[in-house]
Subunit: 349 residues, 2 copies
Amino acid sequence: MTRPDAPGRVACPSDRARTLAAERLAGLATPAGALGRLGETAVWLSAVQDACPPRPLEDVRVVVFAGDHGVTSHGVSAYPKEITALMVRQFLSGGAGVAVLARQHGAALRVLDLGVDIDPGVLPAEVSTHKIRRGSGAIHLEDALSTDETRRALAVGADVAAEEIASGADLLIPGDMGIGNTTPSAALIAASLGLDARDVTGRGSGVDEATLAHKEQVVAQALVRAGERVSDPVERLTALGSADLAAQVGFLAEAARRGVPVLLDGVISVACALVAEDYAPGSAAWFAAGHRSPEPAQALALSKLGLEPLLDLGMRLGEGSGAVAALPVLRSAGALLTDMSLLADVLGS
Amino acid sequence: MTRPDAPGRVACPSDRARTLAAERLAGLATPAGALGRLGETAVWLSAVQDACPPRPLEDVRVVVFAGDHGVTSHGVSAYPKEITALMVRQFLSGGAGVAVLARQHGAALRVLDLGVDIDPGVLPAEVSTHKIRRGSGAIHLEDALSTDETRRALAVGADVAAEEIASGADLLIPGDMGIGNTTPSAALIAASLGLDARDVTGRGSGVDEATLAHKEQVVAQALVRAGERVSDPVERLTALGSADLAAQVGFLAEAARRGVPVLLDGVISVACALVAEDYAPGSAAWFAAGHRSPEPAQALALSKLGLEPLLDLGMRLGEGSGAVAALPVLRSAGALLTDMSLLADVLGS
């Protein structure tokens, strides 16, 4: 299938810096492997920065893509769609979980309304300037988006990543806000990995047994309805995604294309990372996983991407909050490789 | 057995604050349980601070107790005892892992020579002012300490905790530096829990199969030699501990007695926490677990203490480094409970 506007294969992180970093790690004044996952993470950071030792992560930007999902009106969530817009206001007032954590750990936070089911004038202009539509389609009954909307959302995400990078971002963190968003995410992961609805459907914000069973039916019906088209990543987003998810895919792929690392959050951002890897092959090498969520589909997607999360705290708040909670762990990894004494120095001291 | 100088049972953290914190957590504008372990951790923080919402942890003190162990001359470690003093210098110069992490996350660091096998004048005076002896006994052949030395080390640890608290510490983090220290720690955990040497002996800084088998023999021999005396926590430290471990026990018990929370590190500090719980019953309620180490005894001790660690990154650097790496996670927990919007506010906004 022709995808003239797809970014194509992205370049790999620096093998040279990775090799230097692995050598530096081995030369630290500590037993081999004593830093555990922090050591491996520091080597990755060197590779994506093309710098050994790695530089401090001083300009971290969290971008939350907000949107509603047609499936929310079909009984897949414990919450009504009206919560999405209320929560967007909480991002702006600083009381949402990710806003609290971003302040705590010195990251900037931006929230964008891609597809919240309210009129454009209701939220501040800078939030809704990239709005694609009011709510995305109920994926078990209809496409989430038109192909044109998908392409526009991908372009918005890419533009936002480009803006953040141009103004100095050295790490990007994606987040998502939208009641019902674990349903299209589960469908995207199933379609990306060739899995059944039962493998990927989880409790989201905490639905009961009956709702879980119904949600699984909705995902199964969506997968049947979408059919074979989903082998193409743009069609996959059109059939099974949403405006906010398509924008996050564009954001992730553009970050990778521009060689800026990304710290992924939970099931939504991992679903987008899987699609981004198909859309712009090689993207996943630029991603690290912030945390493990209780959603079963997240573990399957992480495994496919070859990523092991830094935190495993049972968080299922969404919004990018798990990734921001993991940011200090990533910074610890970098600081250790940069600032710890080398064995050669200790023996010479 | 009479223990006139033991601190006795310590008071519990505040049930009132715990209840208020649990109510506040339930009232946050987020689905029930969405904060995962961060929610439970924030409730613990409220209880130990007797404050809801919890206060920020702004004055965190890391105290590393350093000492050598006679078993190191008997083939239980991949490193010679001379590394201990070299590493103490790295704490002072800022190049040790825990020193890097303490700077990164804004914690103060203090290192004390309790039993390093060098003369008192070799390290700076403030480091060696509390020195108990040069190296502790090889526990499979002789007691680690005399009873008097154990009591003095316990008192030093208590005094140090009292000093740090009096000067403003709102959280204490214990660390240990000493080649061979996982051997007495494994023995203390086995004696505390009634386990066999094979259940508790791990690879420490990374010993090979043959050394691991020998290390297990050393632990087994130490447990047989110590016999029934180890039912008393002071005798347990005398027989199987060391000057640095006994000081850490005193430090932990005094923190608990004074109602100041502690973030535990790996197998050494968890071994000390088990002994502290016997020495000053109720202490463990004041402790949180920073990280899971690969040492098998650590998991057994954590389980007995009812603690679940915040990080699980395969770190085995020691020095308190795993706890300091977990400090931002503890701070995230507190910030979320303190600063997130309440559902009542969101619905009213």
